[in-house]
């Protein structure tokens, strides 16, 4: 008799945990918090840089914008460059391209960014760090 109860206890202990503890309080992960799409992210930061009025704001925005797991769209970079121009900080403009270089996956992508932003770079006279230190 004692042997049988012991066996029963062993069997009960061996059952998988999920069977024993009913998930009464567990709640399936919700999708109620919508993910921000890339487009709305871009729009948000373009608007931010358009309204940023001092260097601190611009640099704060850049820090936030480059902290996401994505490379900001060229339109965001362009807005940021114009913001840097507005607050008269050339070094920040150079730094933006350094940030892009850091975020992209390979040199081709960086080159694509440079080509895409060639117009605004020439308009503002922003050179990249490589251009500054190669000559």
């Amino acid at each position: 008799m004692a042997m049988r109860t012991q066996m029963l206890a062993t069997l009960l202990r061996a059952r998988p945990t999920a069977m024993r503890v009913a998930p009464a309080f567990a709640r399936p992960s919700s999708s109620a918090h919508g993910q921000e799409t890339f487009e709305s992210f871009t729009e948000r930061y373009v608007n931010f840089f358009k309204s940023a009025e001092d260097l601190f704001e611009v640099q704060r925005g850049l820090n936030n914008c480059f902290a996401h797991d994505l490379v900001p769209a060229p339109s965001v970079i362009e807005a940021a460059l114009h913001a840097a121009r507005r607050v008269n900080d050339y070094s920040t403009a150079v730094r933006i391209f350094e940030g892009v270089k850091e975020k992209v996956e390979n040199k081709q992508q960086y080159q694509q960014y440079l080509d895409e932003l060639k117009g605004v770079r020439e308009e503002l006279g922003v050179s990249t760090r490589e251009e500054l230190y190669s000559s």
């Binding site: 640099q59 850049l62 150079v94 730094r95 850091e102 006279g125 500054l132």
Partner: protein, 176 residues
């Protein structure tokens, strides 16, 4: 991935009038020594700021900041490469908190030092061993076989051990 560290230390060095009034009062030492700032009022050349930045006094660095601030207000297309480089260096160059922890060539130096340290340790190890006394006279095969014979003579451990019938173990012999 290396995080972007945008210019924070500049706040301490460049009190902007109005919005940065707290920083301005905190850096009152700049303005508290008028004799020093007036004596170095001549424009500091920006052509080689990288080389001399570390040697500039904080007043001179502040003056360079002010100079660059005025320069950056101009059309950026008209800036010379030296002015651009100076502006970039002062804001984001490798000085102050951005100073790199290691210099190029440090890896080789570290690897070399490790090799030298290991060689020195090996030298000490073999040096000490060469000065050691010889091993005890009991640690050799002959002595161990003699010990076996003596154990059998004395009928040591006669049931399961060395002096038992049909014993096939090595007894006291440990040398191969």
């Amino acid at each position: 991935m290396q995080a972007l560290r945008l210019a924070r230390p500049r706040v301490a060095l460049r009190p902007i009038s109005g919005t940065r009034s707290i920083a301005a009062t905190a850096n009152a030492s700049h303005t508290a020594s008028p004799s020093a700032s007036t004596s170095s009022q001549a424009a500091i050349p920006l052509s080689n700021v990288e080389a001399q930045w570390e040697r500039l006094s904080s007043d001179e660095q502040y003056q360079v900041h002010r100079q660059l601030e005025d320069i950056q207000k101009k059309d950026w297309r008209t800036l010379s490469i030296d002015e651009k480089k100076a502006a970039y260096y002062v804001a984001f160059g490798p000085h102050g908190p951005r100073k790199p922890h290691s210099n190029p060539g440090d890896g080789l130096k570290i690897a070399g030092s490790v090799v030298v340290a290991i060689a020195a340790a090996g030298l000490v190890f073999f040096g000490v061993r060469s000065q050691a006394p010889p091993p005890p006279k009991t640690i050799n095969k002959e002595w161990e076989e003699a010990a076996n014979q003596r154990a059998i003579e004395q009928k040591l451990d006669p049931i399961t051990g060395i002096a038992s019938e049909g014993y096939s173990g090595t007894g006291f012999v440990q040398h191969k």
